[in-house]
Symmetry: C2
Subunit: 974 residues, 2 copies
């Protein structure tokens, strides 16, 4: 026997939800939502009856759904008493529930064929249990917020085997912060709901709860949560549904900044200054009244104080003055809160956020001790922050990980601030979130996680991950180094169950693909001077990658059924096309400038393409604002092009370059990997070098022909070298177009020659273009270890003078008892990174895990080792990120990734550079011998996450590229 | 009684030209041209009769015109014998003639009412005399070449008072060189004449002779003068007309480079190598046959040897080897020439050109003596050269000014070579030519002047000046420091006699105007990074100046009568509009880039203007090629836009920048003199400074408003300062447009306040723009000497931190017995320059003439004195250009304008920079005291030509500008 959901069962009223009056009203409301969910899947909505009516109706149906909260449910008590369910596992638990499928349930003399019994340890446990049922029948946690349509089922059967007891959430408070809500979220609210009221928040609460979150900071720039419901309606609704409310990091005592703005004044009882020194009484009264107003609800009280509107407090004063002031403030707040809540202060959840300038007041400085050890903070959750760009600012000191009150993390998916705001569509990449938040958790940050999601819209993907990670760290956390990829797969499956596995894989690829690109640089921080034109083809590759992803998204969108299309549009298409279109536009602009700079008519074609991207951007936003009767109006309004300040003031679109084509036929030959070019003129012609075949694995390359003139230019291509084949030489190229002349090297014909230089000639009426094709064809000893990187540079081709190593291509990995390096897929700008675990440990030289890379160089001497890491911040202000570097068994040198002048914060150059580029780079000189060398890298401080190693001979400066050179030739195991 | 030309007189055959059979046939031909000239002026052509027919016809007419050459004219002998004319003044003279109006001339029993008798000392004397008559009746020397139409006269009367004897030309050989004839002159020849033949040269010879030149180097890149007449026809014609032929500087023994190309070959008797070492016999035979072929004609034989096609000889060899080789070459050539001409070698005109690499072979180097004192050069004219950019490379050593053979100068109005070729329309400015060629003359260069005129077309203006200067140095040379202006006036009058004086002044202004602009930088060397955008308004002024000149030319051209219009078109309109259109296009491009860089929609309007300039360029050339049945076809074909090499290979047009306007209304306020700008945003707004009123003579300035957005932006302007008036504030500005907000300072209202800072606010919906208006209002002591320059900088306005002095605004000028400074009007980039005369003297500290400048500074300390001079080269390779600089009576310091690494030549950076920028700059530190200081500049070496002085406090770097800051505030005599 089993519990079968089917349209027949439901429409024949065989499935019945049983409501108890004693239940939390929020639980009853959620049960209603679950019944709606069932209707969406099976086409019919189960009826609900009151528990008091059960005995009168029980005979008419076979499948009751019971739900309740321990201590609030006679029904549960009775079922437990009868042994139908077991409440021991959950009673006294925190947000846990048991989900039971019970056959042949006898009740008051009736026998139900099968019943579902959802028992929660508390209000949220019950609600999570109810929504679990929704999930089990295929309802996306995003439904209700996004246009998620579930897969229609004819029937679904649950059996005893589907029974389980839920886990206790890994992190106690899990939530998000709606912030920087203008122009997007604000316009959205006003248009759809008439303001920031309970109608909006009902949507938001549902999203939070379905995602198994429990904690919310409401929008705050122009609204007051406790006034705009209207009145307390939003507070009441939150409490009803089990949503714990906070206020943002700078709004203490459940009173919002905007609230003070509304209440202050020369005549106001709250005074007219947000200043605890000059208006102490007014501010205290303001807080007191706020606590009073909201003490009936479940809150976490922010304590501390900043300046108005998210600015520093008492900017001019000394650290000591500020520390003393803050101590006074918090002591006062503690007293007010205890009094207002009529509880012992240690029983009240409070939060102190170490944001920006508040941080030193906590840690102290050289002269002044901070609040770090002050008893005033006992029992208060200390909420650490990221640097607004997704990198943790600090970690709890090892000896304080278990302090009372615990630790929290205020993280950002959206930011309005320096160096560049990012508030448009999601640019966050799961591997980065995973790496940072697992670090947080492993270092003891487990009490509260909150993430700034800006306007929510398009952040649903990383938000789901963030909340799932917080809920089930065992599953998604440190144990699974491939968690982001696995999560994405499951996320897509949950949301697009109606689609084939293949299509789901495509969708996962799109989500991963676009965020991988925005993780290299956020769209708002892009401009025409980031990716290098030509060099290592990085700009061209960005254009290609974005093109492919956008085409794929477009194709898929066009093909999707009407149930999948809206959600795909909101969740994938909009953020993907929105971001990539702009990323591509900037790359096109870079190329436009480069081609205009050499007088190529391709510049003019690119100019048209840039204009098309700009048009596409407007079109995308306009369409978004128009779909579903303008449901998403506002959500595309944030500025996202060409920031020249941290905010969008004076932002600039691309400057489009065009040229006037020449009259005389003029051909431009260009080596795409360097931009080296010539028109082959009698006086000015230069011999080009196609250097790609210096890499022994590469058998070809191409020369790009375009024109400086308007019309068609005819040419001929020839070579006298037998080992060179010219493919698709063509005969002419038109103005505005390009043609690739593919040059292949037949290495077989080189036989024993370890080096050769081919020569190709392109002739046209305006000149003769000479191209050298140097070829390395080394005979490698079979004794060379796996992953031996071989220096294959050409003499006159500076851009080839390097060995570039992907960190995962080590020859040896030496784990110790203390730990070992592990590969994190997807992390960093190059696709995989290396980090030593456990990540809450500082290693010593004695127990440091290491990785060893083999490099073969033709000359002994000084070399530069450039190490690329993530832009992690040190665990403590003023701290370092240290690793060791040793060549050939020499004594390992300590290398510090953190520059001397480093500090996290607005206007700090090194930090700003790091968060914009998403990388940190450090050069170290080493001595290498002719032949084989070992380069050993050892872990010391956490935060060292290795992305790339580039070795160059002393004195070589590689041409500028954003990502650095691609991985070099190396031996591989057959 | 008098000689009256009138249509009646002529058509009634009262005016008769009398031809003698004994006359030079060339003289007879020129007489025919003069009769045509008369026809053009009076509408009827005088008849000519043979002298032998005179007695039969004498009774029928009253006004004979006699012409002849001493020793070739029985007529002259008889007239002289009778005392009608006097031949003593001219007999034995060189190129002189007497022009006589004789009344009541009795001859063979007849009495003529009046006669003109033109008697020449030699063939050219006679021809010059004949053409003098043409000039006297108003025929332009350019007629026959350009479409010069003379003013129609009803009658013109010459009397005895018009009789005179001509001067001996100042320079013995005066001519030009048709060079770099492709694509312009070559296409012109082929289209109009079917090749480089005698038909073309007849035109060229006539131009040369009418301009009183006598010497020609023919085109040489694809033609052979002695073969293409066809055959010797061009040579014969030259000789007939008295034109002395040479070959270019690198074509010895009257044989052209192209000739060797045609004759050489493995089977050739001349061998197959232009190499005196390996093919001595072949080369000697080649020269010998050439001399034989042309010895019958009047020639100047080029001697020496360079490589083929104007390249260095034996580039790899040592100086010693080359000197020895050259000595051998010239010795051999001397012998061949003497033998071929059957004359004593000392009676044969020869020329050795010290061009480029040949120069050190003459002067020698540290190790090797050159040919300087070698007797092999005795009697050979040593032709020095300019640096191809119009600056003399070297001057004769003082002790050798009077050597046998004398000195010559090979000068350039057109150049095909580094750093940038200039071969399109004339870019030469008379004051520069005057300064350089008077220097040449005063230093003993008087034997031969030849100028490379490229394709001739549009160089007629400077060419006329060059040849007139060479012919009559007394009139146009050193004695008249205002010679270029006076010459231009006379030149215009000669060519546009039919126009009013006022219009002639306008035309002179146009000629001076366009060449003044091209003298700052040649059109071919212009690009978008020359004139600074905004700074000191120099780019905007260039746009304004070019606009005004082009409009004036256009207006005038539209109004001119049909007799004046064609010549105006060729002589003024085409080179003026051709050059200025492109100069302006580049300045527009600079501004386009600057506005695009700040996101202003003005960039888009400028983009349209740039495109219009490009279109206008094509249109101008197309029209030129179409006028008068395509007469000038080819003359516009030379490349003239965007050289990136010395030649036109890979040249590039402007890169046009456009932006996509923003959606939100955004206003950009900009201070035009600096480019400082803001949109007045809440976070990013900056206070601008309008610094113009720091100059006590300036009472206003303006702020330019434009938009970053497409639509109209409304704003309001206000001030609270009573001394500030805002004029024409407007209310809105449209996308793509600008509006100037004029801010005036009423200094009367400041009364005694020596400094004030006004404040203006511009408000609009996107922000608030604040503008500071600092005002200096000093009360100056009446004791301050005239021309005291006062430092009036603002504190935060770096661009104002200077004193800029025009060299003519000295307080004292101290001449000595040895010489004194004089102002040369029109010279240099700033409009006037200062140079010490005599210019063939090196002064000592004891006799050095000086000028003193007064500067008043608020603080004592170190200052930098930046001196701008012409880009003159030292008089000798490795030499210096020295002046002295002293502050406040301190001991004068020697300052050398020539950088240490300086050398004239391709690839020499300092030299290239100098000739492109037309300036040389030198910084010297001086100590100034608080208050009044005297800065004294003294002349030492010739070549020091002062253009500008800019004084800045130590550590101040002024923003980049091409021309440097404009002259500063200074006291003036009432």
């Amino acid at each position: 026997m089993a519990f079968t959901f089917s349209r027949t069962n439901i429409s024949e009223n065989q499935i019945v939800f049983v409501y108890e009056e004693s239940a939390f009203s929020g639980v009853r409301k959620i049960a209603g939502k679950v019944r709606e969910d069932i209707a969406k899947v099976f086409g019919a909505k189960p009826i609900g009856i009151e528990y008091t009516d059960l005995k009168d109706t029980a005979g008419f149906f076979e499948h009751p759904v019971f739900f309740g909260t321990v201590g609030k449910s006679e029904l549960l008590d009775r079922l437990a008493a009868k042994g139908n369910i077991n409440l021991f596992d959950i009673a006294g638990g925190y947000e846990v529930y048991s989900f039971n499928v019970v056959d042949d349930l006898e009740f008051d003399g009736f026998t139900f064929e099968s019943a579902i019994v959802i028992a929660g340890s508390d209000k949220r446990g019950t609600i999570y249990g109810l929504f679990k049922l929704s999930e089990m029948i295929g309802i996306s946690p995003l439904s209700g917020w996004l246009d998620a349509v579930p897969k229609k089922l004819s029937e679904l059967t649950l059996t005893k085997e589907d029974s389980f007891t839920s886990k206790t959430p890994s992190v106690k408070y899990r939530g998000f912060f709606i912030n920087d809500e203008w122009p997007a979220f604000g316009n959205f609210c006003n248009k759809n709901f008439g303001g920031f009221n309970a109608k909006v928040y009902e949507k938001v609460f549902e999203l939070l709860l379905r995602l198994k979150g429990n904690y919310l900071w409401p929008a705050m720039w122009s609204s007051v949560f406790s006034d705009d419901g209207p009145r307390l309606k939003s507070c009441e609704l939150a409490d009803e549904l089990g949503v714990i409310m906070g206020t943002s990091h700078h709004e203490p005592c459940m009173r919002q900044g905007e609230e003070y703005s509304r209440l202050r004044g020369p005549e106001s009882e709250y005074g007219d200054a947000w200043d605890f020194k000059t208006n102490r009484d007014g501010i205290i009264r303001f807080w007191k009244d706020g606590i009073k107003k909201r003490s009936a609800f479940e809150n976490i009280y922010t304590v501390g104080m900043r300046g108005e509107a998210d600015t520093p407090i008492c900017a001019g004063n000394s650290t000591e003055d500020n520390v003393n002031l803050l101590r006074d403030v918090i002591r006062t707040q503690n007293a007010l809160i205890a009094e207002g809540c009529k509880k012992d202060i240690s029983d009240i959840e409070r939060l102190f956020v170490l944001y920006k300038e508040v941080e030193p007041f906590f840690w102290g400085d050289d002269k002044t001790g901070g609040l770090e050890n002050d008893p005033v903070l006992d029992g208060i959750t200390l909420m650490l922050c990221d640097d607004n760009y997704g990198n943790l600012r600090t970690l709890p000191p090892e000896d304080k990980r278990d302090r009372t009150g615990g630790w929290g993390m205020y993280y950002h998916f959206d930011y309005h601030g320096a160096p560049v705001s990012y508030e448009w569509f999601n640019t966050n990449h799961l591997p980065k979130i995973w790496e940072e938040m697992t670090t947080a958790y492993d270092n003891g940050i487990r009490q509260a996680w909150i993430v700034n999601v800006g306007d929510i819209f398009t952040s649903e993907y990383p938000l789901s991950f963030f909340l799932d990670l917080a809920y089930d760290f065992e599953k998604w956390g440190t144990s699974d180094k491939n968690s982001p990829a696995n999560y994405t797969k499951e996320f897509v499956k949950k949301n697009f169950a109606m689609l084939s596995e293949e299509v789901n894989e495509d969708i996962a690829g799109l989500l991963t693909g676009y965020t991988r690109i925005t993780s290299r640089r956020r769209t708002e921080a892009m401009n025409d001077r980031i990716y290098a034109p030509f060099i290592y083809g990085e700009c061209e590759e960005l254009i290609k990658e974005t093109d492919e992803l956008m085409k794929k998204a477009q194709d898929l969108y066009g093909k999707l059924s009407s149930d999948a299309a809206p959600l795909f549009y909101e969740l994938v298409y909009v953020p993907l096309c929105g971001n990539l279109n702009i990323q591509q536009m900037w790359a096109l602009t870079t190329m436009n400038h480069a081609y205009a700079g050499i007088g190529s008519t391709i510049a003019n074609s690119l100019a048209d393409e840039i204009r098309a991207r700009l048009k596409a951007d407007r079109k995308l936003v306009d369409k978004l604002h128009g779909v579903s009767k303008g449901k998403w109006y506002g959500m595309g309004l944030s500025e996202h092009i060409g920031f020249t300040n941290w905010c969008d003031e004076e932002c600039r679109g691309p400057v489009i370059h065009t040229i006037e084509p020449a009259d005389k036929p003029r051909l431009i030959a260009l080596i795409p990997e360097t931009g080296e070019h010539t028109e082959g003129g009698f006086w000015s012609g230069r011999t080009l070098t196609l250097a790609s075949c210096l890499d022994p694995l590469v058998c070809g390359g191409y020369v790009e022909l375009s024109t400086a003139s308007a019309g068609k230019v005819s040419y001929s291509v020839s070579t006298q070298d037998d080992f060179i084949d010219i493919m698709e030489p063509g005969k002419s190229v038109k103005g505005g177009k390009s043609r690739s002349i593919f040059i292949f090297v037949d290495r077989m014909k080189l036989a024993e020659r370890e080096f050769a230089c081919g020569h190709v000639v392109i002739s046209y009426e305006g000149g003769i273009i000479n191209i050298d094709v140097p070829v390395n064809n080394p005979k490698l000893s079979e004794d060379l270890p796996e992953n031996t990187f071989i220096y294959c540079a050409g003499e006159n081709t500076d851009h080839t003078k390097y060995i570039s190593i992907a960190p995962s291509d080590f020859t040896k990995k030496n784990d110790t008892d203390a730990g070992g390096f592990e590969i994190i897929n997807g992390l960093g700008r190059s696709g995989a990174a290396l980090k030593a675990y456990p990540q809450n440990t500082v290693f010593t030289r004695l127990n440091s895990p290491t990785v060893t890379y083999n490099v073969l160089v033709p000359e002994g001497g000084k070399y530069n080792v450039r190490v690329y890491t993530t832009c992690a911040n040190p665990a403590k202000p003023g701290g370092n990120i240290i690793f060791t570097l040793a060549a050939n068994g020499s004594s390992p040198a300590d290398v510090n990734m953190i520059p001397d002048d480093f500090a996290v914060g607005d206007g700090q150059k090194s930090w700003e550079q790091g968060v914009l580029d998403n990388v940190r780079v450090k050069d170290t000189a080493v001595e290498l011998s002719k032949g084989l060398n070992e380069i050993k890298i050892g872990a010391i401080t956490p935060g060292f996450v290795l992305e790339k190693i580039v070795i160059t001979p002393e004195g070589v400066t590689l041409p500028y590229s954003y990502l650095g050179p691609k991985e070099s030739f190396h031996t591989t195991r057959d």
